[in-house]
Assembly symmetry: C2
Homo-oligomer: 350 residues x 2
Amino acid sequence: MLPIIDMIGERGLLMSEKILLAHGSGGLLTRKLIEEIILQAFANSVLNKLTDAAAVSLPPGKVAVTTDSFVITPPIFPGGNIGELAIYGTVNDLAMVGARPVYLTSGLILEEGLEINLFKEIIESMAIAAKIAGVEIITGDTKVVEKGKGDQIFINTTGVGIIPEGRELSASKIQIGDKVILSGTMGDHGIAILACRKGLSLKTDVRSDSTPLHRLVEVMLEVEPQIRVMRDPTRGGVGTVLNELAEEAGVEIKIEVEQVPLLAQVQGMCDLLGLDPFYIANEGKLVAIVPKESADKITIAMSKLPEGKDAAIIGEIVARSIYPQVYVETEIKTTRILEMPMGNQLPRIC
Amino acid sequence: MLPIIDMIGERGLLMSEKILLAHGSGGLLTRKLIEEIILQAFANSVLNKLTDAAAVSLPPGKVAVTTDSFVITPPIFPGGNIGELAIYGTVNDLAMVGARPVYLTSGLILEEGLEINLFKEIIESMAIAAKIAGVEIITGDTKVVEKGKGDQIFINTTGVGIIPEGRELSASKIQIGDKVILSGTMGDHGIAILACRKGLSLKTDVRSDSTPLHRLVEVMLEVEPQIRVMRDPTRGGVGTVLNELAEEAGVEIKIEVEQVPLLAQVQGMCDLLGLDPFYIANEGKLVAIVPKESADKITIAMSKLPEGKDAAIIGEIVARSIYPQVYVETEIKTTRILEMPMGNQLPRIC
């Protein structure tokens, strides 16, 4: 046995202020960490059993499954933290295929030396975010790696949702004339992270837009069940998502730049740093391709919810093409091609 | 944009020999990595769609969900590697609740600088292991962190399985007189990892026992549907699992040490290093508590499969108790208490 008590000192098991390697070993310290912090926050009848796998019943319908690992730095940022982001990011991936989120899993990789208080704050945020999104965290896993072999905390969340009968969203349904809707301002999350990174002394009020989108999706699909496809423009931003959709559907997409919701501060920061807001990440926005005739109705319905209040029609599908592309048109009709980026302007933003 | 081309050099996108930060950015390099390595290995009709969430149909029955993050070091070890381990570990967690594994997710966190060849080897092992276990990897996520902020590769696998009608395994079903079965030799995985760790020059032939157990579980439940409970003794080993079961059921468990399958080399290494094999991890073994009258029949059936060939009855439930405990008895009737360990003897063994 390791001399664990020596490692913890005289203050006892639970008074340790930092995560120890032994917290990830599967022994008594792992159990204490799980029972006194994680279960305390996530408690529900399934998780409380602490079995190797959770056994649950699912409502009828197709099952949607998604997984996402979050490695964002710093873990606490203006407008959110990695815990909340992990819940909403996974809820949103389910919502994008028309699924109603039901269950989430939590896989934690902690770096030795992580402050227990910071860990608690993140876990409590996950619990609150799960309540807000109406999902239960039904199973989890916690590992600890040596100092210098991780970066404070990485979180994997896997989500399970149900796609109601008859719903099928797919880029293959895109038609010429369809409209492109963006649910709100572009690039807020990426700029908020960029501005708060250590070493950058840029001042800005921009906060992450991290928020769950499943409620907005339900409203949109109630107004128009024939919405073609939805994507949340996270890593790679709106520009990347539009390029993916153009390629999958084999079409040209025209975006009218004046219609694109964009905070003046985000535009300002992008100008200052030589970045293109079309490639900056969001964590609470969606791009939808919708039938022309219902685009206005959908946008109005979206704008009644806080998470859709700035929703706008930003462009349209102009042609089928064997050279799929996205281009941006200005008011005076100059155009530029919005290309698929090679890498990203900013690493580890989610 | 980052000067990606400069980072890659003249050999082009795919000829890069190491993982770059840009491989995790969500842009073109991420897509190349996914399409040319991950999809190449995992290809199936659901995953190939590359949607935000996979949409699947599930057979009837209760749904089992489990998640596990793998941080083992080194990533390649005698008898397996982190990729194979991630598949089998998650398959086994499903099997332990009586579920038939159906779908898996793959969440990868790569460290900048990881050799592409090593990455490929691991991904290909995951694909082969999934085929062997009869599961499909239906959705995934890949992130890259800066050099020094991770440790080559961490893998989260989340599993979805189906528990057939009428099956319910639970420690609460444990009865006095029930027998304890161990499916094979104890501690192989932990000793194999320990022996190959950098800096240790111990020579041993012990290989990890990493293997899927769902087939063995099905055979056991066919012989005796009333098996009480099963656990795979991974982190913390057989000693930890027995303590958990004793506590959950409120019982005393007696183990006859001469009956416990143990390789002479594992015993030897433990003696040399002052370790107790009861707390050393396995990755292809299970502990089952079974009705007394069918214990022999179950063990014989198990021994016909390679993964159960050394199965043995190692002890029994001797009493109910408000002080649950596990004790080990030798042939000459001396006893010692097998306590719940505080931490583990060896970090990062899975």
